[in-house]
């Protein structure tokens, strides 16, 4: 195996039932590589929350994952509406999700806080009307 491995996934914005497919594949891959189960779970949860956000808030997007012996980096990119107030969005319980999304089990406003909690580094680049890129790192 080369020193780093790169994975790329396109996430469709119009199929909620498939949201999480990419995260599931990443999780299976990390497991297969024999990476520490706690790290695998942290990556899986953070990425899954991010993937759900791509689907419910941004009309879809892309996920890039890089696995090196030192760390796992995840980059989620979308051309959605962007986030008006990042600090507010990072607050536990803050959500703009519709009642419909809530009835699907999400939209509790815990996604971004969860992503921060389960990763070692997280950075959000966003511009209203242009989109959002979220960078996350889990150290191994």
């Amino acid at each position: 195996m080369s020193m780093t491995m790169k994975l790329h996934y396109d996430v469709s914005g119009d199929d909620f039932t498939r949201a999480g497919e990419a995260s599931g594949k990443v999780k299976a891959k990390l497991r297969q590589l024999g990476i520490d189960p706690t790290a695998v779970r942290r990556v899986a949860i953070a990425l899954y929350e991010g993937e759900i956000n791509l689907v419910i808030h941004a009309g879809g997007g892309e996920i890039d994952v890089e696995i090196s012996p030192e760390e796992i980096t995840m980059v989620l990119t979308d051309q959605g509406p962007g986030i008006a107030d990042v600090e507010k969005a990072m607050t536990e319980g803050f959500s703009t999700a519709s009642e419909n999304i809530r009835s699907l089990g999400f939209g509790a406003g815990m996604g971004l806080p969860n992503m921060k909690k389960y990763t070692d580094q997280m950075k959000i680049d966003t511009k209203l009307g242009e989109g959002t890129t979220i960078y996350m790192t889990v150290k191994l």
Partner: protein, 116 residues
Amino acid sequence: MTISDVKNIVSAEIICGEEHINKEVTTAFGSDMMSDVLAFAKDQCVLITGLCNPQVIRTAEMLDMICVCFVRGKRPDEDMIALAKERGIVLMATEERMFATCGKLYEKGVRGGESK
């Protein structure tokens, strides 16, 4: 106890994963909000929920849970069953409500486990 004991205690019906029902269960987490499960669950074996869509199976998958118990008579569809089978997750369904399901399991020694 085992998944099989859980099934008996809450009068559930096994929907798939019969081959895994002898796996050990010590802890469970009950919620209809998957974000809460992702935020607060840690090392729980069983997810008890009244929500019934593929994201329930995905959530269990991300948290390495081995069993999902649907309450209030909710029945997973074919796609959800296929997802669960692929991942070796046992699905069961009971007519009981959330409170009674959790209470019966608690009474028999299942605990909420550690949070965070």
